[in-house]
């Protein structure tokens, strides 16, 4: 890695390490009721004491779990997107390409529709999440099975199989919606827009466990991913166990994205745009890109959720809408500048 880029990469990582706690703090302070930074910090310090202070309750019960969930989901989406683009050798790849998002949507819709009217409250949310997670992981397993042959896993076939499974899951979802009652239909579509409003410490705990695994394990494949960008035979001749690397990365991404979709619905563009921005700034070296994408994804989703909560308060926007509105114009501007960073 050239010296300038290495310095850039370290600077960006330092900046992101600084930005994440800052955005978390902002997420605690900002909302339909504004609380000062000082009060927010005090509320955190009193987190484990029973306090009837209004600010402490808002922060402890509502804003803190929500901000943490946003950060964890954002980190998983960011780092998964970076790994996916590396393994597909395509800077336009998105974690949803391998069918995980569509599968999870179908799983969630099935749960909502089959459980009918009584699926309310936290137990219901847990069931929907479980359905989404199972649906997402199942979809990836099918896609992976389709792309596997004696010669190993074909990345191109996997992409096409992902498109096919996504279309199939989408069609099944549509059938389900066609025969659903208005209320179920609205619940399905709200779920799909993505939202962090169901955040509680149980969900934070689940997200934290998976996020730790993904964020610790994926960077171990950074060198292998760098070599894989050259091509699969080249990576093999550089001593990389290509099949093992691909399988493990796909499992990690499926679990990471499956968990985030299960806990927060489909959130557009974080997995696509974040690795893109990071690559634009520090180049494609995965040793820096993977951690930077995790940190940047976390900060972005926390910030987007602040916008979602405050823009038309007290009504909340689903956070997926906000990320799409931020992400799409940015992405289009990147497409216009693609020659600047050497993408044909």
């Amino acid at each position: 890695m050239s010296r300038d880029r290495k310095i850039m990469a370290r600077q960006l990582l330092a900046l992101l390490y600084f930005l994440l706690p800052l955005s978390l703090l902002a997420a605690l302070a900002l909302g339909s009721i504004n609380i000062t930074m000082g009060e927010s910090l005090r509320a955190i310090s009193q987190l484990f004491q029973q306090s009837n202070d209004q600010a402490a309750v808002i922060i402890g019960q509502i804003r803190l779990p929500r901000a943490l969930l946003a950060a964890l989901v954002g980190a998983m989406l960011g780092i998964s997107g970076a790994a996916m683009q590396g393994i597909f050798r395509n800077p336009l790849a998105d974690p949803s390409l391998i069918g995980v998002t569509a599968g999870a949507s179908l799983g969630a819709s099935l749960m909502i529709a089959s459980a009918g009217g009584w699926i309310v409250g936290l137990g219901g949310l847990g069931l929907i999440s479980l359905g989404a997670f199972i649906g997402g992981v199942l979809a990836v397993m099918i896609v992976y099975r389709l792309a596997n042959s004696e010669q190993g896993t074909s990345v191109a076939t996997m992409l096409l199989a992902g498109i096919a499974i996504t279309a199939l899951a989408g069609a099944m979802n549509n059938i389900l919606e066609l025969f659903s009652s208005n209320e179920v239909l609205r619940r399905i579509s709200l779920w799909r827009m993505g939202g962090l409003d169901g955040a509680d410490y149980q969900r934070v705990g689940a997200a934290l466990a998976v996020c730790l695994v993904v964020v610790v394990a994926l960077p171990r494949y950074a060198t292998a991913l760098n070599a894989l960008l050259l091509g699969e035979s080249e990576a093999r001749y550089l001593g990389i166990n290509v099949e093992k690397t691909k399988t493990r990365i796909i499992v990690l991404v499926a679990v990471g994205v499956g968990t985030s979709v299960a806990l927060a619905g489909t959130i557009a563009f974080v997995g696509l745009v974040i690795p893109h921005i990071v690559r634009l700034l520090i180049g494609p070296d995965h040793r820096y890109m993977l951690p930077a994408s995790a940190l940047a994804g976390a900060s972005l989703l926390v910030s987007a959720d602040i916008v979602a909560r405050t823009l038309i308060a007290p009504t909340e926007l689903p956070v997926g809408i906000v990320t799409a509105f931020i992400g799409v114009p940015f992405f289009i501007s990147l497409l216009h500048r693609r020659s600047d960073y050497g993408m044909q």
């Binding site: 960008l229 050259l230 550089l238 166990n241 050497g342």
Partner: protein, 259 residues
């Protein structure tokens, strides 16, 4: 020292036989020229030797040990290959691409920087070391890929023996850079690295290869010194063209002239 030994090697990765009955030995410091018409199996043979294509029968051993028994990492320290078409479309800088050749080694950053400088000088890539790979011309990309493969086996102390496989490394190069490849190949060979060079440039091979392997339809058509192999009959047989063979005025090696 024997680097590579093939004995009745056959390979059929897609069902029908791709390579049949190939046998030769390659010693340290030897340059083997690989020639044959398009689709004769030159690239397949190189991928087979590199471990990317499995063999169906016969023997293939590297430094006296069957290739299949090698750990991927120690194999990568011994053997490097420049493939014909690279899929790289991410904006790594030229330096970063070349440094990927050091992936299998744990020789430390200082040593790797040293290798980088030397390899860039030998492949004339120093002047665009900071440019994104994706913005280079075809010939420049080819030199960078060559540099990456060479960086992998540059140091004698990294492995007990070294083998470099080059698959048409000069197909996009101008005349002066073809000369540069020759200088680089001779330099590596003098230091004990064995090299297999697939190319359609017969005159380059005739002057610089110790042995020639002519392939035809996946089979070994001929193996021997350039003097014995390069005859008008061979060109008639294998390529279906008529050529004149004359002695090179400088070194008397066979010179192939189109008719």
């Amino acid at each position: 020292m024997n680097i590579l030994s093939l004995n009745a090697l056959c390979a059929a990765p897609y069902g029908s036989p791709l390579l049949e009955d190939i046998s030769f030995n390659l010693e340290a410091g030897q340059v083997l020229g690989l020639m044959g018409p398009n689709g004769a199996g030159k690239s397949s043979l190189l991928h087979c030797i590199a471990g990317g294509v499995g063999i169906s029968s016969g023997e293939l051993s590297l430094l006296g040990r069957p290739l299949a028994e090698w750990q991927p990492l120690s194999r990568a320290r011994t053997l490097a290959m420049q493939v014909q078409n690279s899929a790289l479309n991410f904006p790594f800088s030229v330096e970063e691409v070349i440094m990927l050749g050091r992936t299998p080694h744990a020789s430390g950053n200082d040593c790797d920087q040293h290798v980088l400088t030397e390899v860039m000088a030998a492949t004339d890539t120093t002047e665009f070391r900071h440019r994104p790979y994706t913005q280079l011309s075809g010939g420049e990309k080819q030199r960078v890929q060559l540099a990456r493969a060479v960086a992998q086996i540059w140091r004698e102390e990294d492995a007990a023996g070294r083998l470099l496989l080059l698959d048409e490394p000069n197909s996009a190069l101008d005349l002066s850079h073809q000369q540069m490849i020759l200088a680089l190949v001779s330099k590596l060979a003098r230091k004990g690295c064995a090299i297999i060079l697939a190319t359609h440039d017969f005159n380059l091979l005739s002057a610089h290869a110790d042995r020639l392997l002519v392939m035809r339809q996946g089979r070994q058509h001929q193996f021997g010194a350039p003097m014995e192999v390069l005859t008008p009959a061979l060109f008639q047989d294998v390529f279906d063209v008529q050529v004149l063979i004359q002695a090179h005025p400088d070194n008397q090696s066979p010179l192939v002239v189109h008719r």
